[in-house]
Amino acid sequence: MATGIKDRVAIIGMGCSVFGERWDRGADDLMIEAFEEAIADAGIDRAQIEAAWMGNALDDINIGNSALPLAHALRLQTIPVSRVENMCATGTEALRAAVYAVASGAIDFGLALGVEKLKDTGYGGLPLRTKGLANDLWMPYGSAPGTFAQLAGAYSARHALDGGDLKQAMAHVSWKSHQNGALHGKAHLRKAVEMDTILKAPMIADPLGLFDCCGVSDGAACAIVTTPEIAKSLGIDNPVTVKAIQLSASNGWEMGYGEWDGASVRNTQVAAGRAYAEAGIKDPRAEISLTEVHDCFSVTELVTMEDLGLSDPGRAPFDILDGKFDRGGAIPCQTDGGLKCFGHPVGASGLRMAYEVYNQLKGRAGERQLANVDFGLTHNLGGAPFNSVAAVSILGRLD
């Protein structure tokens, strides 16, 4: 009977590059920037890393396929390196691979690194790609905001919500993240923005305006993992441990079977339920100290609050407007600014979320530091609401 990975793996070092429009840095620079911070944090020799996983979602932009770009950038000596890709959930997927390898006893030290060099596309937003030759015959080429904007209309219809109320709550999501991002020296967008500016921004995909959309960034983030026992032997008394990592993926039900109402993301609900069970979380609203969720668009964060069980169905807009998820609220969300302001280099985002939770657990979050942090949740969502991969992880301390 599988018992899960709770407390079987410790994170002993994390690093994160500055996110943003890194015109002067290539993907290798970004990987090195994140790795150097992590290896120094871990206090081990790079030669001790036995296996590495590189998360990179868009191999057609700058990086190239396979994990060899990571091996080349860090000059890793003949250790196994593997690329993982699961759309925007790629970063968490890389962490999961390294964590599982350590938990299995196959290795003592593993490296998970996510990287994306998106600003070499030559235009804003994510690159437009084929969906596969057969799918291209019929499937629309909607943009990322276009796919997530569908949540808004369906959510309003399900909860008989006035479009204006939803827009106001969505604006608050972005307003809050700008407040937080302004406090992080590595964030892509570090400027607070007025509500009125957010509400009056140009429309990207109805009803998502410019400020409802996250930054598209260059960046890298990484984690070095080992066993709690080794962590203690390295002098880390109460290491950050992985309490749970769970994924759930669409099988076509949402977009191909007439049952889903489009107002929630089932994979988030399923992955969260499994993660709470794996971590032993009985009452998420009372036990989760903070969340870093996949706020690719403001409406995604709003719906995610309900899918994680942190708001009742139909109540997220009002909880948001009440400040429940603000930095000073009951369950702060995106204390580092989130995808919205810290930025979204796709393959790195899951690890960037873990980086903020890790720093909060270690009391290293500076101005953003929360008073009591026991469990932090990350939520990484790949694809579109109607065809997604959701990854939920929970981090805490060993004792």
């Binding site: 015959l137 109805d206 007439g258």
Partner: protein, 476 residues
């Protein structure tokens, strides 16, 4: 003649949503001394429509039972070596044993194909579509219209062929050629005089003679004029007093080229009562004139009239220029996306895609596309799905957005989840948004449209898009 000529069983017509207000458009050309005095509307195809989609849309209601043969007629067909009639077989989900024919070469080709079908007593569909290129500022640019028409023939039908005549005459009123795709016109006065006297009137006279009637007995006409305003002279010289529905069509939607006469025939048949005589004449390198005696209301004729009366007027000349290929707008880097359709993939999935064929699983759930293991929750293994054509089934908007980020030649890019009443759910592009666009719950109908255009390789693919179930009515 050894057998009784066939009859018209049903007719169909399709026009795109947009109608350019010609008078407004002419104002945009006034500075250049072009445009002239204009009236009426010009039907303008969407970026995702072409001669083939128009013909397919016009034919949809005519193939509830499959015909033995389908013919495609156009002078602006997108492919020069790929049978549009064979594509129609797939788009209309007809059996592959259906005989096919493609005709072109003159605006008259659709009427010629119809005459052949009638004389052969064939159970046939003649489908015409036209989206002719024209240069901005030319009279043709505003005079043309985009659209499609279709006629189902058989041995028995509501309108019997009672007389006909054909004249071949290489009258160079205008021509187009490879490398010169837009028609080059001759002097209008020359065309009016010679086309009337030497081509059209003699053909009509001969057709009436074979029918054993006097032209004065004609109750309704569908005579394709080479140029607007010729009917008065043609009618006077031919001895006809009936109205010409082809003139009305030209005024209200434009000259539909190869599709014009058959669309006008639908209008003429809609106006006819049992016992009436209806004249059809197609012009171009000669003339085919056909006389029908109407025995009953012709199925589909009312829908042809409705197609002419519905749509959305626009005075946006710049949008018109872009949609007709006369303005090469720079949509930026995002528009550089290329998509190559592979023949191998089309061979596996093309027929089901263009025919919009989904599948019903063992529990009755319908899905698109078909998959080896159904999407139904709990499906545990392979099932043989029963074909279900979704093109003609009602559906509603389940989720939607107007995407303003991704490239489309005519923004915004509407798309979302479509919920069919039979349970099928599909992520689709929407088209023909008018007014405020789409909201959750809106009723939808399916339209065959271009899915992708590969300009570099001269290729395009087709799929269905969701359009509002009803169109707005144009002001009379």
């Amino acid at each position: 003649m050894t057998q009784q000529p066939g009859a018209i069983v049903a007719v169909g017509g399709y026009l795109p949503l947009l109608r350019l207000d010609r008078a407004q458009a002419a104002k945009s050309l006034r500075h250049f001394g072009l445009g002239g005095r204009q009236a009426g509307y010009r039907a303008v195809g969407g970026w995702d429509e072409d001669a083939f989609t128009f013909a397919a849309e016009a034919s949809r209601a005519l193939v509830e039972s499959p015909p033995s043969k389908i013919a495609f007629a156009s002078t602006s067909a997108p492919f020069t070596d790929r049978s549009h009639a064979a594509l129609l077989v797939d788009a209309l989900a007809l059996p592959r044993a259906t005989r096919t024919a493609d005709s072109a070469g003159t605006r008259r080709c659709a009427v010629s194909a119809l005459l052949d079908a009638l004389l052969g007593g064939e159970d046939s569909v003649v489908a015409a579509g036209e989206r002719r290129p024209a240069r901005a500022g030319s009279p043709s640019h505003l005079a043309y219209g985009d659209g499609g028409s279709a006629v189902r023939t058989g041995t028995d039908g509501a309108a019997r062929l009672v007389g006909w005549a054909s004249i071949a005459h290489d009258l160079l009123d205008s021509y187009a050629s490879r490398g010169h795709e837009t028609a080059y016109p001759s002097e209008e006065r020359f065309v009016r005089d010679v086309a009337t006297a030497a081509v059209i009137v003699p053909a009509i006279a001969e057709a009436c003679a074979t029918a054993g009637i006097s032209p004065a007995e004609i109750n309704a006409a569908a005579v394709h004029e080479p140029l607007g305003g010729m009917w008065k002279d043609i009618a006077r010289k031919a001895g006809i007093t009936a109205p010409n529905h082809a003139s009305t069509l030209a005024e209200r939607a434009g000259d539909l080229g190869a599709a014009h006469a058959l669309f006008a025939l639908g209008l003429a048949l809609e106006s006819a009562r049992p016992g009436d005589l209806v004249l059809l004449a197609g012009f171009g390198s000669g003339c085919d004139a056909l006389v029908f005696r109407v025995d009953a209301r012709v199925p589909g004729a009312a829908s042809v009239r409705d197609a002419l009366g519905s749509g959305e007027a626009t005075a946006d000349y710049v949008r018109f220029l872009a949609l007709t290929g006369n303005l090469d707008l720079d949509f930026g880097v995002r528009s550089e996306f290329e998509q190559k359709a592979q023949a191998t993939v089309l061979e596996r999935y093309g027929r089901d895609t263009i025919g919009f064929i989904g599948g019903r699983d063992s529990a009755g759930n319908v899905q698109f596309p078909k998959t080896p293991i159904p999407v139904r929750p709990g499906a545990g293994g392979r099932e043989a799905l029963e074909d279900v054509r979704l093109a003609d089934l009602p559906a509603k908007v389940a989720s939607v957005t107007a995407d303003r980020l991704n490239f489309t030649p005519d923004p915004p890019f509407w798309f979302g989840l479509v919920q069919f009443d039979n349970g099928a759910r599909i992520l689709m592009e929407f088209t023909d948004a008018s007014g405020p666009g789409f909201v959750v719950g809106d009723a939808l109908g399916m339209r065959l449209r271009i899915k992708s255009v590969d300009k570099r390789r001269g290729m395009r693919t087709y799929f269905w898009k969701a359009a509002p179930a009803a169109r707005p009515q144009l002001e009379a």
